[in-house]
Symmetry: D2
């Protein structure tokens, strides 16, 4: 199964095409909508005020409620697009955003309105695809869960702490970054290979780094390994009835690029939202000189809570590839 | 350019095939040998005592000293293979190693001697490929450097500290992990894309996680982003003569999956060598019961110093893919 | 540049996603519509009576009239879908069609109405993609032309012969096959490689066999080589001013998988439309017994004339891949 | 499973790396050698006089007689290389050969001795890979056979006719082309898909066009479809006990890119060997002027008989990809 995400924040629609979907998967639209709702903005004091239904229209690949096995395309129309907010940004790349890199990459032809193809809004079709992947994985006993492991420097924050941290950042006209811990359980041992293009960690990382704002991916003890000795890092094997298991899971469920039957556990680092209310230093590309920038409009001070279903979606698609679904 | 690494630790030979190599690259064998020597074991008190020349034989793709543009195969013969050390490990998977995962994955047909295809020795052909990639990149002004950023919990250790930390681990019959910081400078802005399979971070991570023992990859501020605010994380733009640059490089040279012209900077986490002298808990796969294991033979207490040229090799190959070389 | 075509004949819409489109290509919608019109049915006595506008809606990847470089999605709504014609075919696979193979492949979940994803209608998005590719190729001096080389056994038929052959088949409640000769001129020497996945003929054939009804692909003298000697088959080189050219083009512009600067010339075999008015032998899949089938509804007695822009589209996409566009 | 073939005719060795080989396949070296012997030159009056053992050395991926599942590399040393025969050809591209196209493609860095990487000798590692694929396919009940369908214009020639045709060409200092019919039986219905990159005919053609000298690929009735009507071309279904079969096999076992359970039947066109004894017109690339060329040395007047195992090998690898082996 592979996917292509298309669309721009202020174009007619965004969407996804999935090729290689198995035939006969019951498309539970309520579940898909619920996943999209987890990602959707505009739900409270913590988020941007842009409100869109994010209602997917399935154009192909589903017949009488089930996948047909042929390419599945779903689109979500853009309805709430206020282009005027963005016009002045054309020549003033926003620090931390892809504006400058994209202007070079695409020779100035990119749709700069609202981040264009780089907009966080493009994670909606990813969540659609991930929801479909979850439906398939659930049938095979695979479950994916995630939680905020760090927010603004606070480890394992409670919901109250999350609200407090985000509101404080908003009050300061600023934003905060975090990290998300994700676990894929129910994948049996023996998927993956050590080689380039086949190893479990490489497959996951490819999907995870395709999520905007992800800047780090680490499995099991991750960067904690740098402070450990082998005697701590090695997960001792033991028999759990007829099953071989490990007492700890420092390896995050993967040895030598192959799953070992323990939960696949990883953490991703999420950079703070680059769009902040404060004045920032930038350059004026049309005049080739330094400039000041104040970004107006509606912006999340923190996307980490909304990123949970997105990271799960990327993990679900990675798991499908790993398991050959 | 893509590569296939083949071989087993105790088979006839290991090697690599490179497809898509540009024609006309002068193959500087002295440089390649020097890179292989940086990785080679047996050079001092800090390393395993296995000694092999690691002399590559180029079977194809080079004619009159230059690459031909057709597939290049290089092999390194295995000469110093003492198989008896490993026979008893067949049914006793070593904790932290891929033994168990591989036994499931390959149905017991894998070559278990010395880690087989999972052996760290397989990084020698990777270094060969990376050395060739470096030769091409150097012609384009791209330089790759790396250093140990953490060893056994100590940040930016001096050579004396490295020796001390490794010797202490050896004395304890243990091993230590670390982290490596790597920088790719000279890549201009505009390479990569935000999409799956094309984004700069995804490409790098795919190569880096294919290196045995790498368990985490993070760009720029990496997991530090989880403790930062947007106002700290955003790299302010300024004009440096006619060039657009950023005052900081928290993004690690990549925005939205596209290079921004600043050095590509990343860090990888390296797990401690799983082979340690201490007795460990494992299982006996042939009898389905718990067992004790003492690993004999020669083993590195720390592979981090030898991993520097390997990480650079992976980065060089990733850079070639990113730049379309 | 790669493409994914999606849609079913009687679903909401068909379409295509193109990834890797270069930025800055002026999207000449009049040209694209003209190409779609060449393929469209319902234009005369020779064709099916299904009439649809085939008006593409571009959802993404185009901004202010030019491609942005990010994925381009275009959809064509299905409006004239009379599903009742097809209901009875569910259990009676039509000879020559994919009905039976698809029922096995997709476990009965395929959309069987009007051929579903196998419908010739799916060539409309292919023509859209090919038209865009032609716009890019024209800028580089590459031109693609095609003609009917055989129709119903008649070589190089005149328009009058085409009409006569098709009408005769229709009168007999039958259909006719043919062959199309296509030439891609303006590709300079040196594109392609001998190796799997890179050779020019392999690349072209991959695109051409993805066109429904194509059953053969041959370059230059093609199957005529089987009756030739080397002295006839070898194209003699000569200097044409500073350019190296060949006096004949038996090789079809490709030697050893690499273009030689002469026009890329190939022929494709097109099977007769399987949907014919005559009663045919088939099986009843639900009862596991032999059955008779009469296909009702509207059907082309010959798709060869309409296939010309489709073959050109496939050739245009193949040329883009070959030239690294 | 994918393969990379490397080597040059007059370099140290040629070989192949196979990735994705299933673990546990018994490597029947006698069978592999027999397949290589079918391809080997120097066996009679019909062939070149170059004699080499073509003994493969397996460097990796096989342990205790079975495949390990990790990459398998096999090399064949070049021993009988008389480079002097070819030196003068450096600037005089041989008509019908890849010499000129390669010189442009590789900027003059290609190994021109004996055709270098373009040599027919490179089909030996392909036969090695195909033999391994056949061993796997045989376990699944798949058989591959082939025969000469046309030689020098004679259809279905007897062995006596083959000898006569080839000797006549040799006497004339010329060579002859032909066609090979190949059948893959035992593949059940439901493999493949209509889409680009997945369809059965596209997969086969990709492998077949990677064989030097193949200039056409056609399935079932192939180019004969151009002279047929639908009523002849449609294969009528019938029940054969519980199995659905077709009375004819014009489709060559594939409908809509998916296997239908009938034998996969195809034909390939093989161009006459370009190396002939007669004087030919060419150009002198170093002087930019017309020139005459007489090719000396040993050359096959006809490679069609030796191509049988090569086409079967390509078909075997294609079948493995199609069936997901």
């Amino acid at each position: 199964m592979n996917y292509s995400i298309f669309g721009e924040s202020h174009g007619p629609a965004i969407g996804v095409v999935l090729e290689g979907v198995p035939a006969g998967v019951a498309v539970d639209l309520d579940f898909i909508r619920a996943e999209l709702a987890r990602r959707a903005p505009g739900k409270g004091p913590l988020s941007t005020t842009r409100k869109e239904a994010d209602e997917p229209e399935i154009l192909s690949g589903v017949f009488e409620g089930c996948t047909t096995g042929t390419p599945l395309c779903a689109v979500i129309r853009n309805t709430d697009t206020r282009s005027k907010d963005y016009a002045k940004l054309k020549d003033l790349p926003r620090p931390g955003h892809a504006d400058f890199a994209a202007a070079v990459r695409y020779g100035g032809y990119q749709d700069y309105r609202g981040g264009g193809h780089f907009s966080g809004r493009l994670t909606a079709p990813l969540v659609f695809a991930g929801a479909l992947a979850k439906l398939m994985l659930n049938q095979k006993g695979v479950e994916i869960t995630s939680s905020i492991s760090v927010l603004g420097g606070v480890a394992d924050p409670s919901p109250e702490q999350v609200e407090e941290i985000v509101l404080a950042a908003r009050q300061d006209g600023d934003s905060v970054g975090g990290a998300i811990a994700c676990t894929v359980s129910g994948v049996s041992a023996g998927f993956g290979a050590p080689d380039f293009g086949c190893n479990a960690e490489g497959i996951f990382s490819q999907y995870l780094f395709a999520v905007p704002a992800v800047k780090g991916v680490a499995f099991g003890a991750g960067f904690g390994f740098a402070c450990m000795r082998g005697s701590e890092a090695n997960d001792p094997f033991y028999m759990d009835g007829p099953a071989v298991r490990t007492r700890s899971n420092c390896a995050g469920g993967v040895n030598g690029g192959i799953t070992n039957g323990m939960p696949i556990a990883f953490e991703v680092a999420i950079r703070p939202t680059p769009s902040i209310a404060r004045e920032q230093d930038t350059v004026d590309l049309s005049r080739g000189r330094n400039a000041k920038l104040v970004i107006e409009g509606r912006h999340d001070p923190c996307i980490v809570p909304r990123a949970l279903p997105v990271i799960e979606a990327a993990a679900a698609l990675a798991t499908c590839e790993l398991m050959g679904i």
